[in-house]
Amino acid sequence: MKEYIDLLVSDYTLQIITLGTAVLGALCGMLGSFAVLRKQSLLGDAISHASLPGIAIVFLVLGVKNNNGLLLGALCSGLVSAVFIKGIISKTHLKSDTALGIVLSTFFGFGMLLLTYIQKLPNANQSGLEKYLFGQAATLLASDVWLMSAIAGVSLLVVLLFWKEFKMVLFDADYTKTLGFHVKFIDTLITSFIVIAIVMGLQTVGVVLMSAMLLAPAAAARQWTNSLAKMVFLAGMFGAVSGVLGTAVSASANNLSTGPVIVLIATLFVVVSFVFSPIRGLLFKQIKLWKNRNDLKLMKTLLFMYNLVKDHENVSHPHKIQLLNNFQGYTKKSLKRLQAEDLILLNKSDWSLTKKGFHTAKNLYTHQ
């Protein structure tokens, strides 16, 4: 750990890469929230895969490996695929998963075809295009990071400006339309920024894993909050932290490929969130379930006691614990808990209902 920090302080390249992956993670987390809430998680996957042919075509036409040029190609290709997907969904009766599947595999297949063709070209300067498949954070330059930061800034501004429009379209698009808002414009704005975020990540994470960068932080963030603003903020944080940690791990452990490490760490956030979040986490849900069941058992015991004594003149008259033997809900522990809650009194081998216990049991049926 200390070694890594020393390295980070001294190594300019590592600083650039760390900053780049952090900005990328924040950008993807923020915009990914919108993709997740629109139930368009797979849209990001389709678009990132579909950007491959754009990269290859730009390379074939220009014959250079100018990073920004290639990303522009990816952007065009991604946007075209998004138009295709939306077109297929609205013009045919195919469901969106089918449309996404068709477009994803067709574009990606075409991209792979072009990539293999390029590799067989005799004297082309072709090496290095494969990095867009799985990403190579090491190739990030300061200028790339500046571009990323600028785009992240613009996205943040757009999200803040159109916050209420975004929220309303995400929740209820039809209603938004009746208020006179141009839903298609808002929709296109959201999708465009998602595509831009994807393209920005291609160099670092690659077309294959890019969608995880978009979805994992958002899915994790959803577990911790019921507020959209907090969710978007948290998703950005999770994304940024995944980027930083991923870069750290890959830099200190034999240069593991950065993209996959970042994605794995983002996924770790998802797993931890699904288990440990207090609102929606599996663990707390399970604990709550047990607690409820135990409370119910306790009340059942109390009710059984109530039925035994309700016709007596003195309802607090003590009875032998043996009387409860043919009732399975009680244990010594549960009797002690009932006593702790002032519902019964225990005295050696006897129990008696308190006034409070009697009334609690009596009213069990009536209020839900």
Partner: protein, 248 residues
């Protein structure tokens, strides 16, 4: 005296694919009525609402609101969609949803402030949901969710209200509360149009009714036209048996 016409629909035809869902609908809705749209499943009731509101593009026909095209009169119209049309697990609160009713008057980019919050709280109080304002919407019951949707429309303070099945999946108390509010709206001179499923409550709740089954079968005061003849024309010969079986 003739009442003013709130909504006039001319030759409205809607088709999703090849088959028309609505065929050549002519309909005039007078101002100040509380109207039910009834018809069997697939009769195009929701579609009629959505095409009036320009959510669905009709094949042909026109809709005017107080004599002008709907697009110019949006601020006079409020819409309560079907409860099931949105994801109630969306991360937001009851108050936040009701606030959306103020967004139309606010317009683009402007943020809601304390004036909007006050309006939303008033609407929440009207539907008896004030104490639930900070509740996450997924933790509301079906009836409470419906009240939230109604409150969101009330905030718009419109002249005409469209509601899609507001009584579906709600408890009896909510149903009574909602119909009470609708009757108050009518008393205030508003026009309320409700897609309705339960034929038995039509005479009790509404004063105007439209029978719809792809075509318009009949429209007019409940007292005049809510009869066996029109019910048979809309639902087919066995409608009584279907009501008895509860399949309608």
């Amino acid at each position: 005296m003739e009442a003013k016409i709130a909504i006039a629909i001319d030759d409205l035809t809607v088709a999703y694919n090849y088959k028309p869902v609505l065929w050549d609908i002519d309909l005039q809705i007078p101002e100040g009525v509380l109207m039910a749209i009834v018809g069997p499943n697939g009769a195009g009731k929701s579609t009629l609402l959505k095409s009036i509101l320009d959510i669905i593009k009709p094949l042909a026909g026109s809709v005017t609101v107080y004599g002008k095209p709907y697009k110019k009169q949006r601020d006079l119209v409020a819409y309560v969609p079907q409860k099931g049309s949105v994801d109630w697990d969306f991360p937001t609160t009851a108050l936040d949803v009701v606030m959306m009713g103020t967004y139309g008057a606010l317009g683009w980019i402007k943020r809601p402030g304390s004036a909007q919050k006050k309006q939303a709280l008033e609407a929440l109080e009207k539907v008896g949901m004030l104490s639930f304002q900070n509740r996450q919407i997924s933790q509301l019951s079906g009836g409470q969710q419906q009240r939230i949707f109604l409150a969101r429309a009330l905030v718009q303070n419109a002249a005409i209200y469209f509601m899609d099945e507001p009584f579906q999946g709600v408890d009896a108390t909510t149903e009574k509360a909602i119909i009470q509010i609708l009757k108050e709206l009518r008393k205030a001179g508003k026009t309320v149009i409700v897609v309705h499923h339960d034929l038995q409550t039509v005479p009790e709740y509404f004063d105007w009714v439209t029978f719809l089954n792809v075509k318009k079968i009949a429209t007019g005061p409940v007292a005049d036209i809510f009869n066996d003849d029109n019910l048979t024309k809309t639902y087919g010969i066995n409608y009584k048996a279907s009501i008895a079986e509860g399949t309608l």
